[in-house]
Amino acid sequence: MHITEILFWILTALALFSALMVVSSDNPVHSVLWLILVFMAITGHYILMNAQFLAIVNMIVYAGAIMVLFLFVIMFMNLNKDSEPQKSVWLRLAAVVSGGSLLLILVAALKDNGGYINSMKGEGSIGLIKNLGNTLFTEYVVPFEISSILFLSAMVGAVVLGKKESSTPAA
């Protein structure tokens, strides 16, 4: 077994286990922390696939900024205790069964695939910032600019939503 394969299996196991923990842990703060772990594992996978730029972005934006935002909101609203009422057992069973069936059916649909991935020496420049940046600012400059507008509107939306209503009394 090559070192790459070993790493692949370790990261996979970590990702799956952490994901399960995200779903099953009672405390939201724990969920967030487990989710950060999932993202780290996924970052590892990106590195294995020679997608360095995405790995870094994933780490910084997702595991860093977004998860901190989650954590902040949870702390802010003081939700870290286990106050969540449980759904009924039957509903949860139904949920697990349907999720499992979805997995099964998707695997059945996609399994006949002969592609493979190997790590060769000298290849893999596409995942580097130079190549991605070139393409992003030439071919994809319009979507890039549009996404900046999206950010702007998201910002405005967040401010508008988060503002305390002063004129109308709270419902």
Partner: protein, 631 residues
């Protein structure tokens, strides 16, 4: 000439737009001036066109305005044709139209400004449509005008829409016209398929190539159209009812112009008719039968406008007989003279009705000679003209028709003479009952009797002059050679009647004299019987008189045979088919949707969890379905 011709119909249309759109804020003076002004302007243009047409060396002008319908190989241009026939009609329509517009200003002065403007808008629209009808260079443009005048007739008959019986009269006119229009439309389709074109020039050029049966079919269908518009048996009953409209409308539409559209159409397509002798016979027979029937009915009517209406139907019948026997010029000539004296008579009747405060029963009039001097004189001239005494215009046109009828068959001649005699009788019955003897109305009416204002008497005077002199353009050869100017003028469009027998001039003069003598006798009988009627009490009618007074019970017959079964069928359709079946279907769909919506409502629980669950299950089902499908 093509530079200004399009203005002739456009001006009334502009008047229609101004009066129609601005009716809520324009003053009566303004609408009156606009309404009449555009007509006078287009009359001047028509005069200009006429003078150019009558210059020697004039050839038919077709003015293409734009392509109206252009599909595959079919091209129907929106084109006007100016020739002798259309220019003559232009003069009649715009000239008499102008006079009647001016007359209307005074006649309708009691209306509110909005209704006054509505009246003038309709009237302008009517003139516009009528001008399209006569100016069109193909049957489609003619049909547009044809429909337009039908619509305006409907609108104007139902002008006082507060009165339901007027509305019914309007609907009756419209529906009867529609029956005729269907025939016209079918004829247009048939011509298109036969000749591949509906432009006059092309159709008439190719006419002789078509088989006689086809031509007969086309001409009969065209004639059915003419029957509806020009009130011939069996579609004539709408015209007397159309008198519900204001009197100037009756004068313009239901006497002088619109009802002669059928004559114009047949005269225009004389090439086709000359090639289909069967249809010609049919036209002549229907024409003379209508003339007789309407004349007998007119003998016993008491409503001043109804008498004039039946007289119109009768005169139209005479014109159709002229067309049927091949005397196209005679028919058109009579259209012209009839337009003068019938418009005069209607406007005179309007003046009387105006003075009598909307009393129309001649039994309640009498002795109006002193109170309404101008109306009296002009009305008398009109009566003399329609009765056909020389030298009034009616004499010449009627004489030409009778001569042509005699050429075809003496029976036509005899029936024509009988109609003329009856015409003289009932017209002078009307005249004497209205203007002679003593007044039989109420005291209040007697006090208010007055001559109409100048804007009403002015058109009367003009029309009276034309009723006298209008016939002088068609003096028969028996008096002077080459004096029939109208015939010479129309020769390029309307063929000369080929005469079977040539009478000696003395024979012709003798027959003419005999007819005139008989007419004078008729007038004297009428004078003796009706000049000094004292009471407005009607004699109890019996037998034939009652039969005639009730208009041969034709309306009742139509009611029984057509209207009742149709309304019963409609009631059946409305009660059973519409309410039960169609409403059932529609309501059933609604109820079904409501029911299924109630059943589906539990899905919309508002629980996001259940939405996601349903979504997931659906995705699974889709995939399973697809996998199974592939296998």
């Amino acid at each position: 000439m093509s530079k200004f011709v399009f203005l002739i119909p456009l001006l009334p249309f502009v008047g229609f737009l101004i009066n129609g759109l601005g009716r809520n804020f324009l003053s009566k003076t303004f609408t009156g001036i606009i309404g009449s002004g555009v007509l006078v302007a287009s009359f001047v243009l028509s005069l200009l066109a006429f003078s150019q047409v009558s210059e020697p060396g004039f050839t038919v002008q077709v003015i293409n305005l734009f392509d109206f319908i252009k599909v595959a190989g079919l091209n129907i241009p929106f084109a006007f044709q100016i020739d002798q026939l259309s220019s003559l009609f232009l003069l009649i329509i715009t000239g008499i139209g102008s006079l009647i517009h001016i007359y209307s200003i005074a006649y309708m002065h009691e209306e509110t400004p909005a209704h006054f403007a509505r009246y003038f808008a309709y009237l302008n629209l009517f003139v516009f449509s009528m001008l399209l009808l006569v100016m069109g260079a193909n049957f489609i443009v003619m049909f547009i005008g044809w429909e337009g005048v039908g619509l305006c007739s409907y609108l104007l008959i139902g002008y006082w829409f507060g009165n339901n019986s007027y509305n019914n009269a309007a609907k009756k006119a419209f529906i009867m016209n529609r029956i005729g229009d269907l025939g016209f439309l079918l004829a247009i389709f048939w011509m298109l398929s036969q000749f591949g074109s509906i432009t006059y020039a092309e159709v008439f050029a190719k006419a002789s190539t078509a088989p006689v049966t086809v031509l007969t079919g086309i001409t009969i269908l065209l004639f059915i159209g003419a029957m509806g518009k020009s009130a011939q048996i069996p579609l004539y009953t709408w015209l007397p009812d159309a008198m519900a409209g204001p009197t100037p409308v009756s004068a313009l539409i239901h006497a002088a112009t619109m009802v002669t559209a059928g004559i114009y159409m047949i005269a225009r397509s004389n090439v086709l008719y000359s090639l289909a002798p069967t249809t010609q016979h049919l036209v002549a027979i229907v024409g003379i039968a209508t003339a007789l029937l309407a004349a007998t009915i007119a003998l016993k009517q008491n409503d001043i406008k109804k008498i004039l209406a039946y007289s119109t139907v009768s005169q139209l019948g005479l014109m159709f007989m002229a067309l049927g026997v091949g005397a196209y010029t005679g028919g058109v000539f009579h259209v012209m003279t009839h337009a003068f004296f019938k418009a005069l008579l209607f406007l005179g009747a309007g003046s009387v009705i105006h003075a009598m405060h909307h009393e129309q029963d001649i039994m309640k009039m009498g002795g109006l000679r002193k109170k309404l001097p101008i109306t009296h004189i002009t009305f008398l001239i009109g009566c003399l003209a329609i009765a056909g005494l020389p030298p009034f215009s009616g004499f010449f046109s009627k004489d030409e028709i009778l001569a042509a009828a005699h050429d075809m068959h003496p029976i036509y001649y005899a029936l024509g003479v009988i109609t003329s005699l009856m015409t003289a009788f009932y017209m002078f019955r009307l005249y004497f009952l209205t203007f002679s003897g003593t007044f039989r109305g109420t005291e209040a009416q007697a006090e208010h009797l007055h001559e109409s204002p100048f804007s009403m008497t002015f058109p009367l005077i003009i029309l009276a002059l034309f009723s006298i002199a209008g016939g002088w353009v068609g003096i028969p050869a028996v008096f002077a050679e080459n004096a029939h100017k109208l015939s010479a003028f129309l020769l390029p469009v309307l063929p000369e009647r080929h005469q079977h027998h040539h009478f000696s001039h003395s024979m012709e003069l003798m027959m003419m004299g005999a007819v005139v003598l008989l007419i004078v006798v008729m007038i004297l009988i009428a004078a003796k019987k009706f000049a000094s009627v004292k009471s407005s009490e009607e004699k109890q009618l019996s037998g034939l008189g009652k039969f005639l007074a009730n208009k041969w019970y034709v309306d009742e017959f139509y009611d029984l045979v057509v209207v009742k079964p149709v309304s019963q069928l409609a009631a059946f359709l409305s009660r059973v088919v519409d309410q039960k079946i169609i409403d059932g279907l529609v309501n059933g769909v609604g109820k079904g949707v409501q029911f299924s919506a109630r059943q589906l409502r539990w899905l919309q629980s508002g629980q996001t969890g259940s939405y996601v669950l349903i979504m997931t299950v659906s995705i699974i089902l889709f995939f399973i379905f697809q996998l199974l499908w592939k296998a």
